[in-house]
């Protein structure tokens, strides 16, 4: 049944591709394909400890014989959770895409559906071979979509980093295979030993997954690919596909290698060194991503850097690895899926109506597109972890988990990155949506764009009120991997350090809002134009080309201080590597392009080398 479902999705992908020339509504096939994972999710709800609503008969695990190999699939609570992230948002993004493109791009919908096939396969895979095959399907169909952006630097960087990631993962898989003599997730960790080779495999696989998760310093491709591809795809890439990297890292810790082996490489206050270093990389991502984000003027690049920052939190949580931190990481992954998808979609809608990406050229969009603005505002609240959306619970769990372990480096870095998130959030809010009404004639985004956005906002509200429901799912995951759960009720999470009750926040806020509302209605007010503003008595209407929008280089004072430290740090590093590689390649070329006698010497030397190696 799983295999049939996957085949069906491939078929729909082909259909979407083939009918692309005929009608702009060919994307409907992609939407249909998106409902397949949704059906799986509902069918498998009991796996995650939820109520069983629909029974479609998807088997819990299956093995499929294709000519060359046997593919294994199975569903675990963890894969169920990640299937909600990669599958749950897909149909809505596809729906959005139908209205986003004026001409139907069959290639877009075909590749998107293929990426979904890959992602579904990755989360359902239960052996390393299946995992890798679908990983590559996902990676390369995403590559097709990056190519559609027609930006050379984005294409090359995505290509090289994806290839790097594939090699690293493949290398890790091969090493694990040779160590454990098995590829199945369930038996891998029991047969792995803590040899140096395992360590190498672990590091290379973590790096491979880190590329997809845009972990610093492997993030270089992300800002380029995110900022030069089509918006619905970017929403899926940032919201859905980037989570797969962390899915891989999670499995690496708990399934491929296993905690017992990892802790044998040494621990720091109960946390394995490997996990702790992952957390450090995560913290650096969170901080540097945030700082780069608020110095960015391109809306898409800003969101890309913010993605890097927010994904860093997931790395921190998985790295620390206590149930508290893991809940935080998973919670953050769920939140990030929805809010980042909505933000990219909202950015797409703004572009759809205004045709601008530069924040300094936008402004006052909210007055004309209030529903888009509200959706974006809600997701920005979630991004900045304001406690009136579910975003806060995730960050809170992570903060408490670091204080619990007394990691004096991680906590301040995370918190200051959290404050930094306010900075770039407001840059988006003010620069794009508020301020001077520069686009007085635009219309609200089409309903087909608004509906998906608002559906994707809903989880942020639901998990604000019921964080416990999500924690239940995490509880199933922890039980599956033999970890302790975090104590919680539907509305409250309790830890050994403190507790967080959402109901208290909601009711207190309502009380406050009542007071505010009384003041608000107590006196009448009159709405005036945005140009009826105090500008030292000056009248802006009479001046041609006067800009009232203070959004160019918004954080200039900070930029001036930080620029020397942050600008292109990692890129310069890769540039040096590139120059070095070019040098090596140049030398090799010179070697091969010489005279015949040199060639003979070269062949002789090669033969000698081979002979020496064979006899040694």
């Amino acid at each position: 049944m799983i295999w049939e479902a996957i085949s069906l999705m491939v078929l729909l992908a082909l259909l979407a591709y083939a009918t692309g020339r005929l009608s702009r509504y060919s994307g409907i096939f992609a939407v249909l394909a998106g409902f397949v994972p949704l059906a799986m999710l509902f069918d498998w709800a009991p796996t995650a400890g939820l109520k069983h609503l629909i029974s479609l008969g998807f088997e819990k695990s299956t093995a499929v014989n294709i000519k060359i190999a046997t593919l294994h699939f199975s569903i675990t609570p963890l894969s169920w959770l990640f299937l909600t992230m990669v599958g749950g948002i897909f149909p809505f993004i596809a729906l959005y895409a139908i209205s986003y493109f004026k001409k139907a791009p069959g290639g877009f919908f075909g590749s998107m559906t293929l990426a979904l096939v890959g992602a579904t396969g990755v989360v359902l895979a239960s052996d390393l071979l299946t995992f890798f095959i679908f990983w590559e399907v996902m990676s390369w169909s995403a590559f097709l979509l990056v190519v559609r952006g027609r930006d050379r630097s984005a294409i090359t960087s995505y290509f090289s980093f994806s290839a790097l990631s594939a090699y690293l993962i493949l290398f890790g898989i091969m090493v694990l295979r040779s160590e454990a003599e098995t590829l199945s997730f369930s038996s891998l960790s029991s047969s792995i030993t803590s040899s140096r080779l395992t360590l190498l495999a672990f590091i290379s696989m973590a790096a491979g997954f880190g590329v997809k998760g845009a972990l610093m310093p492997l993030h270089i491709w992300a800002p380029r690919a995110y900022s030069r591809s089509e918006e619905p795809f970017v929403a899926y890439l940032a919201g859905g596909l980037s989570k797969l990297g962390y899915y891989g890292i999670f499995l690496l810790f708990y399934s491929f290698v296993g905690v017992s082996v990892i802790t044998r490489f040494g621990t720091f206050r109960g946390v394995p060194y490997l996990g702790y270093s992952l957390a450090i990389f995560g913290a650096l991502s969170a901080f540097i991503g945030t700082v780069l984000a608020f110095m960015e003027d391109d809306l898409r690049k800003l969101l890309a850097y913010s993605s890097i920052g927010q994904l860093g939190y997931i790395a921190i949580g998985i790295g620390i690895g206590t149930p508290l931190a893991l809940s935080g990481a998973l919670f953050q992954a769920v939140n990030h899926t929805f809010f980042k998808a909505v933000l990219f979609l909202a950015a797409g809608s703004v572009y759809y109506r205004t045709g601008r990406w530069k924040i300094s050229e936008l402004g006052g969009v909210a007055y004309r597109m209030p529903f888009t603005f509200l959706a974006a505002l809600f997701s920005i609240f979630a991004l900045a972890a304001i406690p009136i959306t579910s975003g806060f619970a995730a960050k809170w769990l992570l903060y408490v988990s670091t204080v619990d372990k007394r990691f004096v480096f991680l906590t301040p870095i995370m918190l200051i990155a959290g404050v930094g998130a306010f900075l770039y959030s407001f840059r988006i809010l003010y620069g794009v949506f508020l301020g001077e009404p520069r686009y007085p004639d635009i219309k609200e985004a089409p309903a087909l764009q608004l509906i998906p956005m608002w559906i994707l906002v809903m989880p942020l509200v639901i998990f604000l009120i019921f964080p416990g429901k999500l924690m239940d799912v995490f509880g199933e995951i922890f039980a599956y991997y033999g970890l302790e759960g975090v104590s919680h009720t539907d509305f409250a999470i309790t830890t050994s350090l403190s507790s967080y009750n959402t109901l208290a926040v909601i009711f207190a806020l309502m009380g406050g809002l009542m007071v505010a509302f009384i003041i608000y209605v107590s006196r009448p007010h009159r709405v005036v134009s945005h140009y009826d503003n105090y500008l030292s008595g000056e009248i802006p209407e009479v001046h041609e080309g006067l800009s009232l929008h203070a959004a160019t280089r918004y954080y200039k004072p900070v930029e001036d201080l930080f620029q020397p430290y942050f600008a292109h740090g990692a890129e310069r590093f890769y540039h040096h590597i590139e120059v070095g590689l070019e040098g090596v390649g140049d030398g090799l070329r010179r070697l091969f392009k010489t005279t015949v006698s040199n060639m003979i010497y070269l062949v002789l030397a090669g033969l000698l080398l081979i002979g020496w190696w064979l006899t040694w």
Binding site: A385, W396, P412, G435, L497, Y500, A508, G512, R523
Partner: protein, 319 residues
């Protein structure tokens, strides 16, 4: 099962404490003006001046708004700050503080600020945009040392709950009496100066330069609400400091002394936050204004260095 009488008690307590917080805050604004006037060798306004100001602003005959996003400033600023107030233990009265912790309070403080910033942004005035930028950068500046200092407290008491931190400091074992936490308190007090936007860190609202920044378009009931927000935030921020470093103003144990203890503790709470606030006001009167990048440099160098010293001291010698 839901216990209605306890919820009702909580409700009454919450309303009373919120009212107390707001009224105290407005009084403090008046006291600040009086103190500044006395330092300037002036008579100054009466201490109840700010009450009059707020009545006047809320009874203005006309008000202008720049649309519904502008109104969010009014709605979210006052509700957010009252919400935050309820999550702080005041003079040992726990209220909602058992349902949240320090991180929650730090993030709750962002609700009114962000609501206010939204309104300011929606006014369409460039001065407001610049002012909010400075306020956010100021926040980014003082949060780093403040967080590190607070982390020292959290690690020392091994909790993130403010109620537990207050409880651990009972019987006058105030955090400020622990040497590294004294440094922490110093750092937090400097951060408090930025939080309260007193000089030398009042660049976000610099009235003579960017026409009071974010507030430039606010008048009448909008400005009145913002004054209420400002007043309450004084109480919230100083109470946070008192809760963390000065034992939450708990001098008598309510378990043994009953209602008297609550009254005494509230009086002590009032005096302590007044003292903290007046120190801040006195610093305010003698300093000129830092530019925003100077403020960032100050906080991220001297203040953060001190904070790290406090944290390391706690980390290596006390736990």
């Amino acid at each position: 099962m839901v216990d209605f009488s306890s919820i009702l008690a909580l409700l009454v307590e919450g309303v009373l404490l919120a009212a107390l917080g707001v009224l105290t805050g407005i009084l403090f604004m008046g006291i600040a003006r009086k103190v500044v006037a006395r330092v300037h060798n002036r008579v100054g306004p009466p201490v109840y001046q700010s009450y009059i100001d707020i009545i006047k602003l809320l009874t203005k005959k006309t008000n202008i708004s720049h649309g519904w996003i502008f109104d969010l400033a009014l709605l979210f600023s006052i509700s957010g700050i009252l919400l935050t107030l309820l999550f702080l233990p005041i003079g040992g009265i726990k209220l909602l503080s058992i349902h949240g912790d320090l991180f929650l309070v730090l993030y709750l403080l962002a609700i009114p600020a962000l609501g206010f910033a939204l309104g300011a942004g929606a006014s369409g005035n460039p001065n407001a945009g610049i002012g909010v930028m400075r306020a956010l950068v100021m926040m980014f500046s003082y949060e780093l040392p403040f967080i590190i200092a607070v982390l020292a407290v959290m690690i020392y008491y091994d909790t993130t709950s403010i109620a537990t931190i207050v409880a651990s400091q009972s019987h006058m074992r105030w955090a400020i009496l622990v040497p590294p936490l004294l440094i922490g308190a110093l750092v937090a007090d400097m951060a408090l100066q930025g939080m309260l936007m007193e000089k030398p860190f009042d660049i976000p609202i610099a009235p003579h330069e960017i026409a009071s920044g974010p507030m430039v378009e606010f008048g009448g009931k909008y400005l009145g609400t913002l004054m209420l927000y400002k007043a309450t935030s004084i109480v919230v921020e100083t109470t946070l400091f008192v809760d963390l470093f000065l034992g939450g103003a708990v001098v008598l144990d309510p378990a043994t002394y009953g209602a008297v203890a609550y009254a005494v503790n509230l009086v002590v709470w009032f005096l302590l936050i007044l003292a903290v606030f007046i120190i801040s006001v006195l610093i305010n009167t003698v300093f000129p204004r830092f530019r925003i990048e100077q403020a960032l440099k100050f906080y991220w160098s001297y203040d953060t260095a001190l904070a790290i010293l406090a944290l390391m001291w706690i980390y290596f010698l006390y736990i």
